[in-house]
Amino acid sequence: MSGRRSETGGLIDRSRTVRFTFDGALYTGFAGDTLASALLANGVSLFGRSFKYHRPRGVLTAGVDEPNALVTVLKGGVREPNIPATMLEIHDGLSAVSQNRFPSLAFDLGAVNQLGGKLISAGFYYKTFMGPVIGPLKGTRFWMLCEHFIRRAAGLGKPDFAPDPWRYERMNAFCDVLVVGSGPAGLAAAKAAADRGARVIVADLDQRMGGSAKWTDDTIEGMSAADWAASALKDLTGRQNVTLLPRTTVWGYYDGNTVAALERVTDHKAVAGKGEPRHRHWVIRAGTVVLATGAFERPLVFPGNDRPGVMLAGAAARYAGEFGVLPSGRVAVFANNDGAYRAAAALKEAGADIAAIIDVRSDISAGARALAGRAGVEPMLGRAVVGTAGGKALSSIRIQSYDAATGAVSGEVRTLDVESLLVSGGWSPAIHLASQAGAKAIWDDELQAFLPPESPGSWIGAGAFTGTFTTGGAVAEGQAAGIAATGGEVATAVDDTAEDDIDLRPAPVFEIRADGKAFVDLQLDVTAEDVRLAHREGFVSVEHLKRYTTLGMGTDQGRTSNVPGLAIMAEAQGAPIPEVGTTRFRPPFAPVSIGALAAERFGELKPERLTPMHDWHVEQGAVMYAAGLWLRPQIYGQPGETVEQAYVREAKAVREAAGLVDVSTLGKIMVQGPDAAAFLDRVYTNVFSTLPVNKARYGLMLREDGLAFDDGTTWRLSETDFLMTTTTANAGKVMQYLEYFLDVVWPDLKVHVTSVTDEWAGAAIGGPKARDILAACVTGTAVDNAALPFMGIVHGEIAGVPVMICRLSFSGEMAYEVYSGAGHGQPVWDALLAAGKPLGLVPYGLEALGTLRIEKGHVTGAEIDGRTTARDLHLDWMLSKKKPFVGSMMMDREGLADEDRIKLVGVISLDNRPLNGGAHIVEELDRDNPRDSIGHITAVCYSPALGKYIGLALVKGGKKRHGARAYTSDPLRNRFGPVEIVSHHMFDPEGKRMHG
């Protein structure tokens, strides 16, 4: 249909003219128009091209069910494809373009596909493109060549790669009653629930609330429906306990009455307010959901039913009533039900030229006859439209006699010149949300529609959703739903007799079979013949039908095509419709912007975790490294240094003087209570109950399945208080592990665990000068060997700040971990640096930390990778034989005890070239056909202490290979070279330096 603006009427604001462009041409509309209504009012009929055959298409609907009129919006310098023109509100400066056409909408080269129509019927892809079995295009290569072109032809709108400039937000909401839909049923339900004091949210996907009350000519409670809706909305707006959400599509119904909705906050504005999100993703937890989602009108399937100018009758009535847009030229109506007669009468009274009503039925109700009279035509009964003509717009239709019992068309073909054809094939309740909630639809033979089942209590239906298609019935049902949703008793049954004596049961006619392409799914160009072909080839169940033909898989999700498609399949099978099956609807009800679901995490997926000394690291020019969520210094590079030069300098300084590293990220857990020591004995492989107060011990944990889990030191601060440290990466997992055992397995233990990772700043100072530096700045305690032996703990002050110092070493040097309150971390760090400056203290980062530990053969997550055992890592000495511990019974199973497993070794580069993590180890090098890997390298560095490139590796047989020569084999980086396999203790194996 194209159209023209009526003189008066509609809910648009005729005082505000809006200027916008479509395909570059400037148009005007009124505030409150959609792109569809505004373009129709401008006489535009051609909106887009279809998916497969590139046929010209107009507007079929006035809402979210639109299959044809999809456009790309250009806004903010980016493209947003596939927006239904029927849902797009115009604003000044809006720029939209049509899709899937080249070079232009009016002249589209892709239309050549129409010539191959029968060749590219349903399923044709599966039967061809296999190509030759030999030669360069064998295997799947020929298909891939074809696919390259097919992909470019397929697809609807064209996207771009520019980052999305918008912001999106999420909102959590709670209510007693969520009403979905604000038509007569929804508003009545909201009022009833709100009257009873409930917290109510009403959501509607349209810009204006009121649903069909906005355009129907019915009366409610003595008022015009539109006036009734306006007054109900005014009333609800003023209530504290009611939230109205227009432009909000409820799209997901999840478990526990958790409902997801998308609010289009600023799409309709030329400029968004500061901080206003484009879309708001609402997550609503509702006590009860009232589903008043209405129904979708179905088109009829007949040859040429896709021509621009063919529109749903209800949509035409809506354009007239809500937007003041009338179909232009002569108008024909083609229907199988009485509802279309109301549209015809209303349009006629609004000024449209109704030329004919064609009805497949041979007899109609008195009410329909009266309506036809109001429309000024004598209905043509027992007739059907069997074809249409026109290029890019409808010019005429062909009509023949039709026998509704047999489906046969016969007799003389009569041609009628019309510009608009309004069709109605009955109504399908919008049961999508109930279906998402698990409801199984029930076929109703009277209404020829799938209806929702009885309310399960969590949701209650009202109005057209339940198949109650009269306005009066909807209001009554809405009121009842509102009362029931708030726990009230509903006494009266709903009166669902039609206001004007019309018969709401459509004839069971879905398709007029005649010559020519008759479309079922207009968006994806699925024809009635395609459905029959699927039947012929055995794809008869509803899911096979959909998947084989793509019926209903488009952006409109088959709202106008699912039931006609099922009906045609049912007819082909000779089975009733419900035997073909019903579709289970899944979220979302309508397409949802992906950014809205990311919401506040769009642009910042995860928060950064910062140590107390973070700003200092950055000021010093440290390169920061993302370690999980933490940011940690990788190196403190000096001008002109490479990464290797920097870490070698730092590591060397540690071995020769002293270094300072931020270890605040280590997981720290307070384990407190009279049973704390006993608890640690159970979760650690080694014994902690014997640990004296003010001493620390290195501990190892296994998983329940006996593989290595995590390691760290635990400090005994008092008889009942332990401070456990974990690796940075496993802090959260270890915490959960401890909590699980305490809460689930041993709830009788008196132990509390608390994360104190963030309570303490940690600075580890190590190196030959470390003790001197400490002595120079610590007060309140001695730090000599007697006062602070290896694994000892003392308390003192640095820079006036209380500190706790434990002498332990990851670097292999004499080293101390200095803990202070996190808010005091920086002054302590500063004081240590100041005290160390004369002695050569340098800060060092993760690379140097790694270098020092590799030299010492200490393991981290690269080795404790979830597949290694304590024995694989030579941590057998930590496995107590005196007590059971978590994993103790599982760690020695045959596969885990196998001597041939990959085990920890050291490797030394023999060609003085760097090693690489992830390289494999082989006994015999074959660069061209790498094979027979015996292990891989887990960590590498240049060792300043050894003057060599070294690494740690996991190699089959482990120790048995010490002293053997092997090769690194790294075909991915094309790096190969000789190595010697050695003990993982590569530097100071006796540990003299740290004990010194």
């Binding site: 937000e169 999420r170 909102m171 959590n172 909401a173 709670f174 917290r199 307010g273 500061k274 901080g275 206003e276 999100p277 997550v283 937890r285 506040e600 995490r601 910042e604 995860k606 928060p607 950064e608 975790r609 910062l610 140590t611 107390p612 973070h614 700003d615 969520l629 933490w630 605040s664 307070m670 407190q672 209570g673 009279p674 008889e719 009942t720 208080d721 008196k750 509390h752 608390t754 994360s755 104190v756 990772t757 963030d758 309570e759 303490w760 700043a761 820079a799 006036g800 700040v801 309150g821 996190a822 808010g823 005091h824 971390g825 920086q826 002054p827």
Partner: protein, 195 residues
Amino acid sequence: MVEQLSPLGDAWKPGAHGRMLGGAGVTLVETRPGSIVQLAAWRGEEKTIIDTIRDVSGLALADGAGAGVAEASRAAFGFAPGKFLVVDQAEGLGATYRAAITTDHGAVTDLSHGRTAIRLSGQRAEWVLAKFFALDFSLAAFPVGLGVSTAHHDVFAQIQRTGADQFDLYVFRSFARAFWTSLCHASEEVGYEVR
């Protein structure tokens, strides 16, 4: 005592920001209490801890989930079975409680450095918080004094309502800057003032 450094760094930008339509919708303040202490009772000793909180901090907590009291310079609330958070503008509360609660009754954990306290107040405070947490912040569901434990993705938070339009949030210090930045971002829509 040496003053604690704020974890917010230059993310703390005092002044008015965002869409100010007739005043700030919310106000954001880092309250920097001197003491944040966790008290955890052994089972059956919850009353003892509640009594101790009354004796030490002068705050009388009801015996119920999340029950709490907030005064100008101190507050306390339950946040998990047998567990309480006690907050005071004064420093040194941890030591006081350690002296008052023996290992027969429970455990005392000082979190004065480990948690950052953020106060969000104003007419739109509920609206802004609802963007982050799947909690019903309406006064009826979340009365003054009540405390809860909740989380926004990776950020764990304890929240106490300390006034009709005022909430105190306790988040892990290492996340404080990122969370503060998110709070500011989310507050732009209603206009916000940082103090």
